[in-house]
């Protein structure tokens, strides 16, 4: 089984270099260079339009890059090379399950597409059903299943042919908190059981927190790549968040009276300060009663880190959203 520790394996399993894709005159992915280490969970973090999905489509072999090279386990391979395709398990944002087939049939279909046959295919299907905790529901048609169960089956389907890397495009999109946690518990369990390496795209801050490393994308470029803790540590202090009837005016006053860098995010004034607890009384005293409707203090989240790195909010759509060509209605 491959080594599943994160920091001790410097040799990348999958290395992407200079990956570039243009749509007419706009560059969606701009010279992306990225190393995925064996056994890690690497998240591509960015808002819609940052180039995540384009990168994913290229790695999934559905879109041809304009430039770039991919090395897998030391071998330079074309993205369309069957030798590479066999090593990748892919979960698309849109489900790939057939609603008219049972869970077992869906997995068997996935196994056969990758050349598994007979007893070997069947044994893998049963093992995967057990690993995702759905062994007793294998003969149900998946059309009636909940989003969370379908997502887990997608995971099993992507892994049924024993790939070494799993690629996931916004895997928990639309899942509630409980289903999100169940999905990730299964993913981590599978990662350990199968010695997997995971590369996923996300724009959820809570999902980014559970990755081993994050590659932060903005406007098609890599702006940072580090562990979530190291990225959060780049923000010096705490986040002081103030609420007021007129946020813009308050931000101006905070800048003038307290000489702090204040910006308005989602209708609230945000100030990044060292030793935030010392600032709370000072801020409260600086303004007359009634001016502030709430004052709160928190540790920076990845959403704050993202805002600092790119000047954009993580949840927001970039105006020049990419024309995802295969996603039209």
């Amino acid at each position: 089984m491959p080594d599943t520790s994160v920091s001790t394996s410097p040799a990348p399993l999958l290395h992407i270099e200079g990956l570039t894709r243009r749509f007419r005159d706009r560059v969606a992915v701009d010279g992306l260079t990225l190393s995925v280490r064996p056994g890690e969970i690497l998240g591509l973090l960015g808002p819609n339009g940052a180039g995540k999905s384009t990168t994913f489509q290229m790695l999934a072999g559905l879109m041809a890059p304009d430039a770039g090279r991919v090395t897998f386990a030391g071998r330079a391979l074309a993205l369309s090379d069957p030798a590479l395709r066999r090593q990748l398990g892919i979960i698309f944002q849109r489900g790939s399950l057939d609603d008219l087939l049972t869970a077992r049939e869906n997995l068997l279909l996935g196994a056969r597409l990758y050349g598994l046959t007979g007893e070997r295919a069947r044994a893998r299907v049963e093992a995967m059903l057990a690993l995702i905790g759905l062994a007793d529901r294998g003969d149900e048609r998946v059309g009636t299943w909940s989003g969370g169960m379908r997502r887990r089956l997608e995971l099993a389907r992507a892994l049924v042919h024993q790939p070494r890397v799993v690629l996931m495009d916004e895997p928990t999109q639309g899942l509630d908190e409980a289903a999100f946690r169940t999905f990730w518990a299964h993913l981590k369990r599978l990662r350990d059981a199968e010695g997997l390496t995971v590369l996923l795209t996300t724009h959820r801050a809570d999902e980014a927190e559970v990755c081993d490393r994050l590659a932060v994308l903005d406007a098609g470029r890599l702006v940072a790549c580090d562990t979530p803790a190291a990225l959060a540590a780049r923000m010096g202090g705490d986040i002081l968040s103030l609420e007021s009837a007129d946020a813009e005016a308050l931000a101006r006053d905070v800048r003038e009276k307290l000489a702090l860098e204040a910006k308005v995010v989602d209708g609230r004034v945000q100030v990044e300060v060292a030793q935030g607890h010392a600032w709370v009384p000072r801020v409260v005293e600086a303004f007359p009663a009634g001016r502030l409707s709430s004052v709160s203090l928190r540790r920076p989240t990845l959403a704050d880190v993202f805002l600092q790195l790119t000047g954009r909010a993580l949840g927001a759509d970039v105006p020049t959203a990419e024309p995802a060509p295969r996603r039209r209605r």
Binding site: G61, F92, L113, A127, R157, E194
Partner: protein
């Protein structure tokens, strides 16, 4: 929902996948087979489709057939009533509708992500096209075979029936039509758009194939369109296989009865399937 995580280990020791990768050809064949089997299974799991597939040709044959029966007369083909004339046309209609339906599922599969997952796998795009085409052809052939059980009612006798020709024409027609449908479907993003393509291209092709009215009675420009129509060869092929060369010649083109149907349909099937594979492999 069972949120428990099972501890059952996966049989990793059963053999490293890298040690014995399946051959490229085996992979392609697996892709073809899987897609074909899936479409057949899906067909039988949609009762409305099964009922429609059986009832529609029978209804068509009886309703349209008896509507035209009184006014239909062909010189040199005594005893060939409209019900008989129309019977091969309904057989090809079954093949056409089945191909149209299959290509609509291509659009749906693409939207649903199923096709993305297949295309992201190790199978080639030609294998994907062939799998889809064979699956749809299998459904079409089952459907057409059931309808053909009515052949004795349409005056087909054992003396004129040419079974090998019938099978060859039906298989090649099904493949050609599915290939054509898929080459068109790949450029259309919605099933609504595909319905437009269908009613502008595919249905008129059937009407002008000699399925509904004989080539002989048509005006000059129309008969030229009909002569160049690929579906004409399907209709004439089925007619010749069921009623013999004489009957086919009586209502068809000067070339019918010359045995051109199978080679011509073979060319059409190859060209359209190739075109479909080309359309599918054009990556964005």
């Amino acid at each position: 929902m069972n949120a428990e995580i099972s501890t059952a280990p996966a049989p990793l020791a059963a053999g490293e996948p890298a040690a014995s990768p399946p051959g490229t050809l085996a992979l392609q064949w697996a892709t073809v087979r899987v897609l074909m089997a899936r479409d057949v299974v899906r067909f039988f799991r949609q009762p409305s489709r099964v009922i429609g597939a059986l009832a529609q040709p029978v209804l068509f044959w009886f309703v349209i057939g008896s509507g035209f029966a009184g006014s239909f007369r062909v010189e040199g083909a005594q005893g060939l009533g409209y019900q008989q004339f129309f019977f091969p046309g309904v057989v090809t209609m079954v093949l056409l509708f089945s191909a149209i339906f299959a290509t609509i599922t291509v659009i749906e599969d693409r939207r649903e992500g199923f096709l993305q997952a297949v295309l992201a796998g190790p199978g080639s795009r030609l294998a994907v096209v062939l799998g889809k085409a064979l699956g749809s052809s299998a459904i079409a052939l089952m459907q057409a075979s059931l309808f053909l059980l009515l052949a004795p009612l349409a005056g087909v006798s054992a003396s004129t029936l040419n079974l090998p020709l019938l099978v060859a024409v039906m298989v090649l027609s099904a493949l050609a039509l599915t290939g054509m449908g898929m080459s068109l479907a790949w450029w259309v993003k919605s099933s609504a758009g595909y319905h437009a393509v269908m009613s502008i291209v595919m249905l008129p092709m059937w009407v002008l194939s000699g399925a509904m009215f004989p080539l002989k009675g048509a005006g000059t420009w129309l008969s030229w369109v009909m002569l160049l129509n690929p579906m004409r060869f399907s209709v004439e092929g089925v007619r010749r296989a069921l009623y013999g060369a004489q009957a086919s010649l009586a209502v068809g083109s000067p070339m019918s009865g010359a045995g051109l149907e199978v080679p011509v349909l073979l060319v059409f099937a190859t060209v359209f399937l190739g075109l479909a594979a080309f359309s599918v492999s054009r990556r964005e």
